[in-house]
Subunit: 184 residues, 2 copies
């Protein structure tokens, strides 16, 4: 069985100044919303993962209004939410156990950010034996200053991480292709 | 207590044609050897992690001579070896348990490749609560063809992944700086 796992689709990840100077894929949250609508219509399993930062200054700290889900990915009352304080959706949460007991072996993963929580969760999901599809336009990256002092633009961080995950850890599809493939 | 964790320092990862068109940091294995010599002299804990690929065609398949440790990082008889078949050194191995029972909370991680097994293991080590230092010139990347069809050179893959891991998951130091800092 296939489940949708949406990770950290929260308002705070639109606060670009805190995480970098720029972010790519401004429509990532809307594409997460399209995935959600599709899975609800099919009545297929949906799992929301939410980050509660331990850093008081973070937009994702529980005390901040920006800790809230993005309006495009607001959970319904019957959709389980797994709260976490680290990057991996599988560490400190019962997510793995819930997937196993639900006979779910295939995961559609989307959310933010590709280079931190998405990559960590995709890598771990794959290494735990799940069949993972990462939705390329339903995730996004921030730019970074490298260890070498150079700036790595959001698009470079995004495409390098996508290339690292491709084949080794996940199948990569965009939202349109994925929804076409699933809607059979 | 601080331990050295060397991951996949095996001959096969010098077979550049199999993994890409080029690899950066040709001295990575020699730098792993320098870390090993230092930790042996100090009699500090050392853990070797070895990859046994499940892909028959891989240079790291157990049937291949290139599955062997690189000569620079050959384990001594008293140094534990953890064999794995996935990227993370913590999945399917008793490594986490051995570190916890040894009261080890700080890890120096080096080996190959930064974008696959090193990144996955560093991310998971950090999320499990270990204090991680990644040795920048004792790891290396291969180039990749991106999902967009563009080529991402080994140096770009390397620096983008280092930037993703820096601060969020690990402290980054080169071998000389690390050995100076540890030799107090």
């Amino acid at each position: 069985m296939t489940a949708l796992v949406l990770i950290d689709v929260q308002r705070g990840l639109q606060q670009i100044g805190f995480y970098g100077a720029e972010r790519n894929n401004p429509d990532a949250e809307e594409n997460c919303g399209r995935l959600l609508t599709f899975f609800r219509k099919k009545q297929w399993p949906i799992f929301h993962v939410k980050h509660n930062s331990t850093n008081l200054g973070s937009p994702l700290h529980r005390s901040k209004i920006t800790n809230a889900f993005h309006p495009a990915a607001e959970p319904l009352i019957n959709e389980p939410i797994f709260e976490k304080t680290v990057n991996s959706a599988f560490i400190g949460t019962p997510l793995e156990n819930r997937l196993r007991t639900g006979n779910i072996n295939s995961l559609i993963i989307a959310g933010l950010t590709i280079e931190h929580c998405i990559s960590t969760s995709v890598r771990m999901a794959s290494n735990l034996g799940f069949n993972v599809t990462l939705v390329s336009d339903a995730t996004a990256a921030f730019d970074k200053i490298g260890h070498d002092g150079n700036n790595y633009p959001a698009d470079v961080i995004f495409h390098a991480e996508l290339a690292n995950l491709k084949n080794e850890f996940a199948t990569i599809k965009d939202t349109n292709t994925l929804l076409d493939d699933l809607d059979i």
